[in-house]
Symmetry: C2
Subunit: 307 residues, 2 copies
């Protein structure tokens, strides 16, 4: 039972079921390294590329990055906000970008950070996950402010489709700290765990149930810890225990370094998908220059993470 | 200085600036009551209306609800997930629905629950708020998992456009409780405030700065408290102090009653925008039956909230 990427299918997986995202990521990583190219076509970027801050400019952006990414990097992460900003025409471009990227063998992480009550999450999950979803991606980001327990539809569809649900747990920006390190109610006596610890525990439990002994379909977004004070804002997390993949955003323009990534994920370096956006896109719009910039960071990241 | 809805413009407001959302809501409320009609075109609903679970069915849904809403209710709240589920065609319908509703004098609350780091929030704010935004709405919902302090772009654009930013603070579903009542770090000694208390405090501070002595542009989503145990899951909140408007979702099919709404907002009944979706849509697809159902709940809500 060998899947289309040459990855052995685990014994618990019924025939006809999609290869897991974790298996597909492992195959991609062996070939290209773990780097995720974040696609953030801001108005400023479109202008700096000479394309115009418009739906037409966004289309040209998509053409260039698709050309540069295929065969260069393993994963791309379009940020939905920059497509939504151009209304339905922007979403049409995003839809084309996702289809074309997946056909080219790229793993796609759609960064949308959705999250709502259960019945609404079901609609979002149908938008982004599984065959027939109009904006089908291999992985999708969600936020847990309304509770991970309200996300059954997302979890179920991700598991069935061989996709990955990435729960924003520790974000890459300092403004998120207050909520993310707030303490949940403790058992009887003693301090409760923080929100981010609680989420990691829930993610681990879901993965243990859905993919025992494997890396499961529920992952987390974990911003790389800056190696500078105040470090008490970033209490250590038991990342390995979640049996999860991690998206680590914010490398480059947002301030995190390759060393920060390696240090943060030292317990499970093969499970991290580090993402850089602006620092790579600044090399455009030339396809050759973009490829060179992406290839260089991918090599650096592979070296640091034991790729 | 009389605005287009006959509302006196406050003295601090420069001429040429849009009337505040709070002023526009007060005028709408005086005419139609505070009820918000939630527009949730789920696949099940489209099928039950005989329209087909497709982009074409969604278009027919939009036609019916626009016809039924104009002149019947003051506010509509499309839930983005049910439009995104149909990809770019669904967003095109949402865009048309928003434009048409606003032209008909309805206040539009776009329920998208977006939220990200600062530069991404800027793109989202440009998608939804202010003249020229492709999906311009009078109010938009956001989630605070990445921090309210990362939402400057949303706050600034909402204030300038006379729009309202509705921060999900206490959601209407029980699964959200763990995060929302987690305790932020306290001052020196003593317990810190909960996440939802902290957010209400931050919202109050923003409104005091942006609209001193008025109801400000930053509101909150506050699920009505169910009047049944366990009530300790819903500690009392000082709602009046935030000088904010409140979206109260979940009336009807989600379980909250008109009495729950009145009880929850007893300190500021004129600041609440209660929303019902499925319980109203179930009367469709006949325009007359929808109008009758919406009118009846609007009257009940006005009576309970002193409209």
């Amino acid at each position: 039972m060998i899947g289309r990427l040459g990855v052995r299918r685990p014994l618990w997986q019924p025939e006809g079921m999609a290869d897991s995202f974790a298996a597909r990521f492992a195959a991609i990583r062996a070939r290209y390294g773990p780097l995720v190219w974040g696609l953030d076509p801001s108005g400023a970027l479109l202008k700096s590329w000479g394309f115009g801050d418009s739906a037409a400019g966004l289309d040209r952006f998509a053409d260039v990055v698709l050309d540069a990414a295929a065969g260069t990097v393993g994963l791309v992460k379009p940020q939905s906000a920059f497509f939504e900003r151009h209304g339905w025409r922007g979403i049409r471009t995003l839809q084309r970008l996702l289809v074309t990227a997946r056909r080219a063998g790229l793993l796609t992480i759609l960064d949308v950070k959705r999250g709502d009550v259960g019945s609404t999450n079901d609609a979002y999950a149908r938008a982004f996950l599984g065959a027939g979803a109009p904006l089908e991606a291999d992985a999708v980001t969600v936020h847990p402010y309304l509770g991970l327990a309200a996300m059954d539809a997302f979890v179920t569809r991700a598991a069935a489709a061989g996709a990955c649900l990435l729960v924003v747990t520790r974000s890459s920006n300092p403004e998120g700290r207050a909520v993310q390190v707030a303490r949940c109610r403790g058992e009887a006596r003693g301090r409760g765990r923080t929100v981010e610890e609680t989420l990691l525990g829930q993610i681990g439990a879901l993965n243990a149930a859905l993919a025992p002994g494997e890396i499961g379909p529920v992952g987390a977004v974990i911003g790389p810890t800056p190696q500078r004070p105040p470090l008490d804002q970033y209490p250590p997390l038991d990342l390995a225990a979640a049996h999860a993949l991690f998206l680590a955003p914010g490398v480059g323009a947002q301030g995190a370094t390759v060393a920060d990534v390696a240090q943060t994920f030292t317990a499970c370096p093969d499970r991290v998908m580090p993402s850089a956006s602006r620092s790579l896109l600044s090399a455009g719009p030339g396809v050759g220059a973009l490829r060179a910039k992406v290839t260089a960071l991918a090599a650096e990241m592979s070296a640091a993470l034991g790729g």
